[in-house]
Structure formats: C-alpha cells, structure tokens
C-alpha cells in the first residue's frame, strides 16, 4: 500500500484573503483544528509514513506540523513558483514511486483516502478522486468512460458540463505522471495524456467533501464536521454558569466560560478561553475558536469566529465568518436572506419545512477589522 504523500499547501488563497489576513489559508481553523491539521490527521490515519508538504511559506508551516513528526517523516519543501503549476512541478521532482498527491485545502473523511489507496492497490493504476457536483466550474471537470476510467479533464471549464464530475483534489500519481508533468508543464495535458491510455481510474466519492476556496466554504465545512459530533464533551476546566442551558452535542474546551442564562444549541464547538456572555444564544453549526468573545445578549448562528474575534453586546451574526481578531462593536446586525443570485457568491442553501429552499449568506469580516456599532451588514458583504 502507498505510504508516501505530497501535500500542496501553498498559494495565497486570494479568494479568502480577507479572512486569513495574508497567512496561509491552510491555517484557518474549523471546529478547533486547522485545515492542515485535519489533512495531516487523515493521512496518518490511513497509514502514510512519509509526507512532503510543498508551500511558499515554509517557516510558518514548519511551526504547526512539527508535532506530527512522531507519526511520520515530514519534510517541508519550498515551491518554485507561487502558483499551482509551480507547486506541482516542485512535487514532480519528489515523486520516485507511487504517491498520494493531496491539495492542502480539501476536507474529506479519511475513509475516502483509504478507499482511494485500496483502489490503487486493486487496479495498479493512478486513481483520481471525483465528486458529483452540480456546478464543476470551480473545480476542474472530469468525464469518465463507461467502465470508470478518466476520459477527459478540463482544468478550468468555462461553463457547466452536465456529464462531468468535479476533480476532488486528491489522486495517486507515479513517476510517469511526474515525467509527463515536467515535459508538458501542464496539469491538464498530463492528465489527458494518461487518460488517453486508460491509466487513470475514476473514484467517485458520494460522501461529503469541501474545497476551501471562498470564505463561505468554511461554513459548509462547519456543517459537515459538526454534524458528525455525536456526544457532548465539556472540559473539566471550563466554567459553566448553573443557569446556562446546553443542548448537545457540544464541545467546550479548557477554560472556556459560559455565563448566566446563555443558551448553546449544538452542534457547536467552543474553543479554549472563549467567553459567552449573559443571555447570549449560540445556535447550531457555530464554531468559536480559541479566545473569541461573545458579549451579552448576542445571537450567533452558523458562523465561524476565528481566534480572538469579538462580538459586542446585542449583535446578531449569522452565516458569517469573522477573521482572527476582528471586532464587532455592539448592536451590529447581519442581513442574511439572499434575494437573487449575487455575482460570484454561492450562498448556503437552507431547507425549511422539508421543501422550501432559502439562500442565505451573512458577512465576511477581515482579520483585525473593526465594525462600527450599529452597522447593518448586507448579505455577502466582504469588509
């Protein structure tokens, strides 16, 4: 079985830059763990023993992954050029046997990785993860043959292609792939060349999968990851007022404080040293990362507060992401119902009464940004 993996963890993450404040997007937190943490855990879970992480920010990545070194040999490699092909070409030079090639911004269950490796073992061919997505424009479009080999690959499809699957950002590769990639300097040509000779198996994954590209992808990821919570876990070092109401499943980490009459409705993640003030209401699919603060009488629904973000008294924040150290002054409201399709924004679909679909999206507040008291934020606002 393959025990080598290469993770592409570089790139500025331009589309999500206001939230990251310029630090690598793989360090964004989702329910208590960074994206790179989740990727590493998955790899170690499926028996990967040798990981190369390719990035343009070696020092920062080195800092966060060192504690995985007791499970696998890990090296951090600086990529040649900042773009994807630069990272891929750097990867190509490292490939000397069958290797699992993983985009660092993909969240998926580890079962998918395990099955990809099994499939590789079975067919002795490269295996490409494909996702049935309605709109493949963001991901790269793959068509397959009747007997499940990759047929064609379009890296940047201009339009919706109904028969196509989305490329899931994970595949197994070998020396032949590396050689072709170096020759053609094009991922698309490399895949199409291999596909022509029926050398790539299609692996269709029907479970959840998130590619973190835009800020709202974090909200999708929260939904999937928190939906998997089964039990409530409250740290003995957390301080919960006796009038607070906690409906599970909820994780409350060390030294978090839930004040009187606060209501927490799971699934919710509450990180270390988080403070939730009097009479606040924390609704499902919310993740309050380490050190974030919700002041009294605020309501938060399906949102991500990155580390040390703050929401002032009496605010309503929903379907929103707050970058690290962002500050919402008192009485700020997010408007969330998206009335018509807004350009470039894919809202979260909420299904009510088992049928009616509403499109909702809140605001995306840059790291360190301060929102003035009384502001009303329009749906999809990026500030």
């Amino acid at each position: 079985m393959i025990d080598k993996a290469i993770v592409l963890a570089g790139g500025m993450g331009k589309r999500i830059m206001n939230i990251t404040g310029g630090s690598p997007k793989v360090l964004l937190k989702v329910a208590g763990k960074s994206i790179i943490d989740r990727v590493m855990e998955n790899l170690i879970n499926v028996g990967i023993k040798d990981v190369s992480i390719i990035t343009d920010r070696t020092a920062v990545i080195e800092d966060v992954i060192h504690h995985y070194k007791k499970y696998a040999s890990i090296s951090v490699v600086e990529q040649k050029e900042a773009d994807l092909i630069g990272a891929l070409l750097t990867a190509a030079e490292l490939i000397d046997s069958d290797t699992l090639l993983v985009y660092g911004d993909i969240l998926i269950k580890s079962e998918a990785l395990r099955d990809i490796l099994l499939s590789q073992e079975l067919y002795r061919k490269s295996v490409m993860l494909l996702i049935p997505e309605e709109d493949v424009r963001e991901y790269g479009a793959v068509t397959i043959t009747e007997d499940n080999y990759v047929n064609t690959f379009i890296e940047k499809p201009g339009e919706k292609i109904e028969e196509a699957y989305a490329y899931g950002g994970i595949m197994t590769v070998n020396e032949e792939f590396a050689k072709l990639l170096i020759e053609t300097e094009s991922f698309e040509d490399t895949i199409n060349n291999l596909a022509k000779e029926r050398k790539i198996r299609a692996f269709i994954w029907s479970g959840w999968w998130v590619d973190i590209g835009y800020p709202w992808d974090l909200l999708k990821a929260l939904h999937y990851l928190l939906s998997e919570l089964e039990a409530t876990k409250i740290s003995a070092k957390a301080k919960i007022a006796d009038t607070a109401i906690i409906e599970g499943p909820v994780i409350i980490d060390d030294e978090a404080e839930i004040d009187h009459y606060a209501i927490i409705k799971g699934p919710v993640y509450i990180g270390k040293r988080v403070y939730v003030g009097n009479h606040s209401l924390i609704r499902p699919f919310t993740s309050l990362e380490k050190g974030s603060i919700i002041h009294a009488y605020s309501e938060v629904f399906w949102s991500s507060l990155q580390e040390e973000a703050l929401i002032g008294r009496g605010s309503f924040i929903a379907f929103s992401v707050l970058g690290s150290k962002a500050v919402i002054e008192p009485n700020v409201l997010t408007k969330v119902v998206v009335s018509e399709e807004m350009r470039g924004i894919r809202p979260i679909e909420v299904i009510k009464n088992h049928k009616e679909r509403y499109l909702k999206l809140g605001a995306f507040i840059s790291a360190g940004r301060r929102i003035r008291a009384g502001t009303i934020l329009e749906p999809g606002a990026m500030v």
């Binding site: 079962e111 998918a112 099955d115 990809i116 099994l118 499939s119 079975l122 067919y123 295996v127 049935p132 997505e133 309605e134 068509t143 397959i144 009747e146 007997d147 499940n148 109904e162 028969e163 196509a164 699957y165 198996r201 299609a202 692996f203 269709i204 994954w205 029907s206 479970g207 299904i351 009464n353 088992h354 049928k355 679909r357």
Partner: protein, 616 residues
C-alpha cells in the same frame, strides 16, 4: 442468511495466521446479513470462539489474528432458531468439545432429535437447531462408528435445509461437509481447499470451484476431495449410511470473476459501484444472448400461457416481462409473487411455460413455486445470475444474466439485465410471428442501451445527490406510473424503502382518486415515471397531485410536456418505450442510494434484510 467458511491447508501456505484468512473470508460474506460471528481453528491447540456482533467490532475480542492452524471453520449467523446471543453463535460443539460444526439452513426434525439425544445424556448449551449435529456425531462415534461414518450417519438423519462444515478432532486432517438445499461451494486453491456459502468468500485465493448439489456430502483434505451422494434418508439405528461416490472431475469450473470484481473497486459502497456497472453489465448480457436460445424461443412459441414467478426486485422485472410477452409476443402472460404463486397453479399444465426469475437462483419461495409448476407438468425457464444454482438446475431451460457478482443487498444491475433478457426473449418470439418493423426499432435501441445508460448515470449523479438532501427529511413518498411505468415505480419505491428506510408506496397512477390521494398534503413527495405514450393520462394525475401541494419529481423522455408542471425533472434520452424502463430506473436507484447515504445509513447492509432469502 448465515455464511459459512471452511479452510484446510498445509502449514506455511499463507503469510498470515489462518484466523486472519477466516476473518477475511467472513468479511466477504457480510453482505448476506448476520448478527453474530464465530470460528474454530485446529493448530497446536483447538480453539472455538464466538460472539454476537459485527466482525469489525468483535474481531479484536475474538482474536482472529492470534490463532494459526491447518484446519479452520468460520460462521456469520443470521438468527432463525434462538435469539442472537453469544451461546447461539456458531460453531457448536458436542459434549466433549471434540466436534465443531457450522451450519446454514433450518432443520425440520431437530426438536425430536434433541429430545432423543437429551434422554441419552447429551447436554445442550444453545437454543439452536444446529447443535443436534455435533451431538449426533458424538452419539454415533460412541456406538462404534468411525468418525467419517458417524458424520455421514448423522447427516442422513437430518431433515430440512442445511449446508454443514465440520471439524472432528478424531479425524484432524479432514473437513467434513454436506449440502441439502442451502448453498455450499468448494474452492480449490494451490495449497488450500475452501468450503463456503458463496464464491466471493474465497475468490481472493482461488477461482477454481465445484458447486455442490443437494444430497451431496464428503470431506476435503489439504490435497484431495471426496464427494459422495446420500442414497436414502437414515434412521437412528446402527446401520451405516448408504452413499455412492460421485465423479466430480467434470464439474470443476474456473470462473472468470477476478477478486476485484467482487470487491468495491474504488467506490464507497458496493451499491454505487453496481449502479455504475450497469452499462457494462447490460452490454455483456445482451452480447451473451446472441448465443443459442432457439430452443427456448420454440418452447415459448408453442406455449399456451406464460407465467412468471419471482420475488422482490425480480418480480418487478417479471411484471415488465409479462407486459412484453403480452404486447410483443402476443402471449397471455402474467407475473406472480413466488410466495403467492401456489394459489395460482391449479390451471397450469403441460402446455404452459413458467419463467422463474431469481438473481441468486436459490430464492426458496421461487424454488418451491418451480417445483409446484413442474409437478403440474409445465416447462420451466430460469433466469438467474448465478451459474448452476438451484433454480437453473431444476429447470428445463435457463438464461443467465451476465451482471457479475452483485454484493449490495439492494438489487440494481441484476434488475436491468433481467429486464434486458426478458425483452430480448419477447423480441425473439415476436420476430417469428411477424411485425418486423417495430421489432427492428426496439432491437436497435436495445443495442444502444449500454451507451444511453452510461450517459443517464453520469449526467444526473450530482443533481440526485443534491436532491437527496431534501428527500432525506421526508417520511413518506408515492411512486406513480402507468403501463411500463408501474413496475419501474414499484422498483423505485422498493429501493427507497429497503435502503433509505423511507416509506415509499407505488401504485398505478390511475388509482390515486380511489383512495391514496387522501394522504397527499403540502410538500408530500410524488415521483412520476413516464415511459412514453401514457403521458397525456399522467398529466391529469400530476395536476391533481399539484393541486394538493405535492412536491413532484418527474422522470420522462426529453421534451415531455410533463416537465412544465413538475418541480424536479429528469430527462431521459429518446428511446423506444419498450427499452425506456431500463433507463428510467437508473435515477431512482441513485436517488435511493444517495438518500440512504444522506440519512447516514449503509446502503450495502440494510437492516433486517438478507441478499438471498433461503428461509420460507
């Protein structure tokens, strides 16, 4: 149903302990459905371990991987006699713990045998019927029988269904086996011989097999096989069991199934894999049909009535088959659910043909109906996916679907291939009675079906996945159609019920106003399957559902006027209406699959269901 495995080998034949091999083989039998597992291994020591629970959950506690040896048996139990508790799990042993038995099937006379043995001082530890077998062997050994003779004698007094594999410490280099009604297959490997309920159990190690027949018993050693046939049932006396040796050499078959065919092949579930395999399975089946079937066509032509008997999904394929026979072959034809068929057999006679459709070829209700039909003198044609299974063996004619092994409990590719076979047969009969033009059109479209199926599958997978997010919260659904659409609606609803556990009811759309429509309220999901000409009639049915606020999902041919009054639309390619059902079922299979996944269920292992139903 229960799954059994027996392995006899030479030391060092495998790189891992025999216990691990048994565990792997049992995992491959998981699809049969089970509640408990157990094994016995003879090596330096003799161990018997068993427990209630799933293999993955109890493997560590049982310690499969810790035990090596040269003879072993394993079992997955599906409770019939006695609740699923540790003591009822197999293997069962005699009083001395020297004989260990695994068994699949149901013994009819176990109560009286148990009583007799108990009076002779045998102590029973479980509530199962199986436990009489080790005690019988022990009893006959006490009376002076040699171990193998004691085994044969014990088998001869059993009545009912059984596949049995036995380790006897007094004959440690042999594995005894016997089969009656329940399936048992021998796999001949290089350094090991396997006995199992089904081929996928050992396919990883060998593809050379002998399918045992009813009434056969014998033993295997690490290098040889003895098969005998039981000549007559025995009594609890001291006479040796009457048997004769069977020449099995010509019955050894080499299968072209590769181990990966039986595995998931990169899909998260067997069911999704099998859904995607349909284009290939259809192509293989249609190509296979070009072989000689003239004899069958002759018999169909000469017949008076054509009666289908089948259960579950095969029954839905049969409903279509009966429609094809009526409309194309111009024969009076009707399909019956096999467990009900006996009440319709009184006027079936020599001039009639019974078509028995069964994926496994072992479905007990169908087998019973086949026997009843034969008693009345009717000719029987079997349609099955498993070569040499019971129903094909007992039939006058047989056509195999070439779908490959189907492991997901919910039938998918066997359904579409069954429909293709029945359509092809009807066409062949129709050809002989004239009406060439329409037949050519259908034949052309049938030839194109693999390609069309492939495009339907990839085109709608993503749409269906998002639709399943809404459907997963529903508790009820209607599936409606007319004509060829009715069996498809029934099959779609069955899939939704059996794997997504949503109560889905199918009936002919015209029946709505006669009652069922009373249940429809706002957002009630109603799935319409339109095949072609009945469109105009369906339109008013959709309207009446819409008027009550139902949520309408419509599957219809391209450009259908029904789409303008539906909430969700699935366009099928233009194909002849006889061929269309094969395509229309595809989105419904996927809808059930994705809804099951969205609801967090494992579509491959539905609760309370078994792949092959061998208990009446």
């Amino acid at each position: 149903m229960c799954g059994i495995i027996g392995i006899i080998t030479v030391p060092g034949a495998f790189n891992e302990p025999l216990g691990s091999i048994i565990k792997k083989c049992l995992k491959n039998l998981e699809y049969r459905g089970y509640d408990s597992v157990g094994f016995a291994i003879l090596g330096d020591i003799f161990v018997v371990r068993k427990s209630k629970g799933k293999i993955d959950d109890v493997a560590f506690g049982l310690g499969f991987d810790k035990y090596d040896g040269f003879v072993g048996i394993g079992h997955t139990r599906w409770a019939t006699h006695g609740p699923p508790v540790d003591k009822n799990a197999h293997p069962h042993t005699d009083c001395l713990g020297r004989v260990a038995v695994v068994h699949n099937g149901v013994l009819e006379n176990y109560l009286e045998l148990k009583e007799i043995l108990r009076r002779k001082g045998h102590v029973f530890k479980s509530d199962t019927d199986t436990e009489v077998i080790p005690h019988l062997i022990e009893e006959f050994k006490k009376r002076g029988f040699q171990p193998y003779e004691a085994f044969k004698k014990a088998i001869s007094v059993l009545r009912g269904a059984y596949a049995v594999v036995v380790i006897d410490l007094d004959e440690p280099n042999k594995l005894f086996f016997a089969r009656n009604t329940s399936p048992l297959i021998i796999g001949i490997g290089e350094n090991a011989i396997f006995l199992a309920s089904d081929i996928p159990a050992f396919l990883e190690y060998t593809n050379k097999v002998i399918v045992l027949e009813d009434g056969e018993l014998g033993y295997v050693t690490s290098r040889g096989i003895l098969i005998e046939k039981l000549l007559k049932p025995g009594e609890l006396d001291d006479e040796l069991a009457m048997t004769e040796i069977v020449d099995y050499k010509s019955r050894i078959k080499v299968l072209d199934w590769t181990p990966e065919m039986a595995k998931k092949g990169g899909y998260p579930h067997f069911m999704l894999k099998e859904i995607h395999e349909q284009p290939g399975a259809l192509a293989a089946t249609i190509a296979g049909l070009k072989e000689e079937i003239d004899g069958i066509v002759d018999a169909l032509l000469k017949s008076d009535k054509i009666i289908f008997v089948a259960a579950g999904t095969s029954y839905h394929a049969s409903l279509l088959g009966a429609l094809y026979m009526n409309n194309l072959a111009e024969k009076w034809s009707m399909a019956f659910i096999s467990s009900e068929a006996r009440w319709w057999m009184s006027n079936i006679g020599e001039e009639d043909i019974v078509i028995a459709v069964s994926q496994s070829g072992e479905t007990i209700d169908t087998l019973v109906a086949v026997r009843e039909a034969k008693r009345n003198g009717a000719k029987v044609l079997a349609v099955s996916n498993i070569i040499d299974s019971a129903i094909p063996r007992e039939s006058d004619f047989v056509v195999y679907t070439k779908a490959g092994p189907e492991i997901g409990v919910a039938a998918t590719k066997t359904f579409t291939t069954q429909v293709a076979v029945l359509l092809y047969l009807s066409l062949k009969v129709a050809e002989r009675i004239g009406n060439k033009r329409i037949i050519e059109e259908i034949k052309n479209d049938l030839a194109k079906v693999p390609e069309l199926a492939s495009s339907v599958l990839s085109r709608y997978e993503a749409r269906i996945k998002s639709l399943s997010r809404i459907l997963k919260k529903k508790t009820n659904a209607f599936y409606l159609g007319r004509g060829f659409g009715v069996p498809i609606a029934m099959e779609g609803a069955l899939k939704m019920k059996e794997i997504a556990y949503i109560h889905a009811e199918a009936y002919p759309a015209g029946e709505s106003k006669h009652g069922p429509i009373a249940l429809v309220e706002k957002d009630f999901p109603v799935v319409f399957t339109s095949i072609g000409e009945e469109e105009e009639l369906l339109q008013s049915n959709i309207e009446e559902m819409r008027a009550r606020g139902a949520w309408i999902i419509t599957i219809a041919r391209k450009g259908s006027r029904l789409f303008s009054i539906s909430d969700e639309k699935f366009e099928m390619p233009n194909a002849n209406e006889y061929v269309m059902p094969i395509l229309s079922i595809l989105p419904l299979q996927m809808l059930a699959y994705y809804t099951a996944v969205a609801r967090g269920y494992d579509p491959d292992k539905p609760r309370n269901l078994a792949k092959t139903v061998t208990v009446i």
